[in-house]
Symmetry: C2
Subunit: 321 residues, 2 copies
Amino acid sequence: MADVSLPLSGRMNEFQLINRLKSLLPINDSVVVGAGDDCAVLAPPTAGQQQLFKTDAVVEGVHFTAETPGEKVGRKALARAVSDMAAMAGTPTSAVITLGLPAGFSPERVEAMYRGMAQFASQVGIALVGGETTRSPGALFLNVALLGTVPTGRAVLRSGAKVGDAVFVTGELGGSIEGHHLDFEPRLTEARWLAEHFDIHAMIDLSDGLAGDLQHILQASQVPGGEILAPALPIRHAARLRARSGDMAKPAVVAALTDGEDFELVLTVAPADAVRLLDGWKARFPETRLTCVGRLNNRPGLFLRDERGLKPLGHGFQHFD
Amino acid sequence: MADVSLPLSGRMNEFQLINRLKSLLPINDSVVVGAGDDCAVLAPPTAGQQQLFKTDAVVEGVHFTAETPGEKVGRKALARAVSDMAAMAGTPTSAVITLGLPAGFSPERVEAMYRGMAQFASQVGIALVGGETTRSPGALFLNVALLGTVPTGRAVLRSGAKVGDAVFVTGELGGSIEGHHLDFEPRLTEARWLAEHFDIHAMIDLSDGLAGDLQHILQASQVPGGEILAPALPIRHAARLRARSGDMAKPAVVAALTDGEDFELVLTVAPADAVRLLDGWKARFPETRLTCVGRLNNRPGLFLRDERGLKPLGHGFQHFD
């Protein structure tokens, strides 16, 4: 419940809007009491499960624009958090939403955002069990907190990578801003399959770009360095097109390494598992690429190898993690 | 992990700030993997417990100002969500934080907010297991998602009130803006004691004011109406002082009914339990008031009774819930 009255610009009053939004929220078997009380009440995970807990926000002007359709905004807000849960090889179960609304917001747009969230939630089996709304004097923001499960001890962390590991990425990289950042499918099924069938040492989802996010694995795993092979990078068509758009355009390889919001998985395995992994993947997910893009090693720092030799990566990626 | 680079105004770089913030975060026995991976990993609740799940945000210019000390902002953000969990008679266990930061934010202020959250979290036994940071083109916001437990089937809902119930409130009401909204102690211990020793029919925490929040109980419980006794209202000293501040000031009774952010509990019990409840409370919580302020009945609508008769309440309280 919000402690502030919201100025409604449209024909709906606040109670009508709230009731419409509530009617959109999907539930599942874990829900004892859903949206509408002080807190949601949920059944605990079944025996042999641990819990996963994650929060994430999208902000107008940063993660979407005033022109982005509301449905896609809502979908993206939820899908981003789901992608983080995929990176642990987990299963999302329920979410609560906080919406920060500027004066003069459109109730129709808010409803569209909820529709986008609800549709994606239904698709992946997530119950939406609470929605909080507040005024925001600045930009519209939408925060998603997500709860999920993972078999006890089977969460794939960032910290298990080893020197010598082969580095794989799912899908294709770069140019996400052309549309992928709104339409991506978090790699939930793929991640669980990977964790069930292989000894995945470390995994992370790509939100800051491969060059930055692989550094998080190195750091968490205390592995000194690694090498990415430029010709091996699976580059998204949109990144290639953008690279040809003018002299100032980012080269496609750089886009694949540094563009944000790919929401693909990066994972490392023992080199002895690499061939079996590629074969198994091709049989199970024939439509989706899985590419070995490099290897971890003892030489300090992350490097890119191309036809001209080795270049150091990993400077200028001072992101919050 | 955030997908945007944050412009730091101070001397610290982002990694230094993040490392300082991480070192502040309290943990507890439920934490398997805390802040720093894609998700937190948590032990499930012990047998016989259900889960509570809640989200809430504070926004600069709405819930606090640029002058509010950072520690108090952080404390308030967490304490608000804890108050909602108290209203279910639950126990909070872990929280994840989203921080939206405008350009030119002060890292020292961010650290102070985290200190305030961390100190309050330690005080009530909450682990802080994840922090996400994003840019916010508008106002600074701080979202808290909170997870907790409650013995199975023992969550006190808004929906159990009955015609004839006596209505009680803890503490005092009104004038919270003078300071209480930053310093309040959520009624966690009191709520659990109430639920353990009495058949509490319905409970809610006061964020919009008694007149508005009691309506939520009526609506959820499908009870037609109720009557609040004006002379019985426990009015906070700050509300009385404000009432004397000029001709335009809100009368103290109106402040007690409509000022937001009291974060006290409203609860209803069968009238036969009222005396035992008051006696038990006085013995257990001698420093804190518990006041019977009215009764639920069959007459549609919520009314205030004072020396001049009955006045209808409950118009003009069109808040989101």
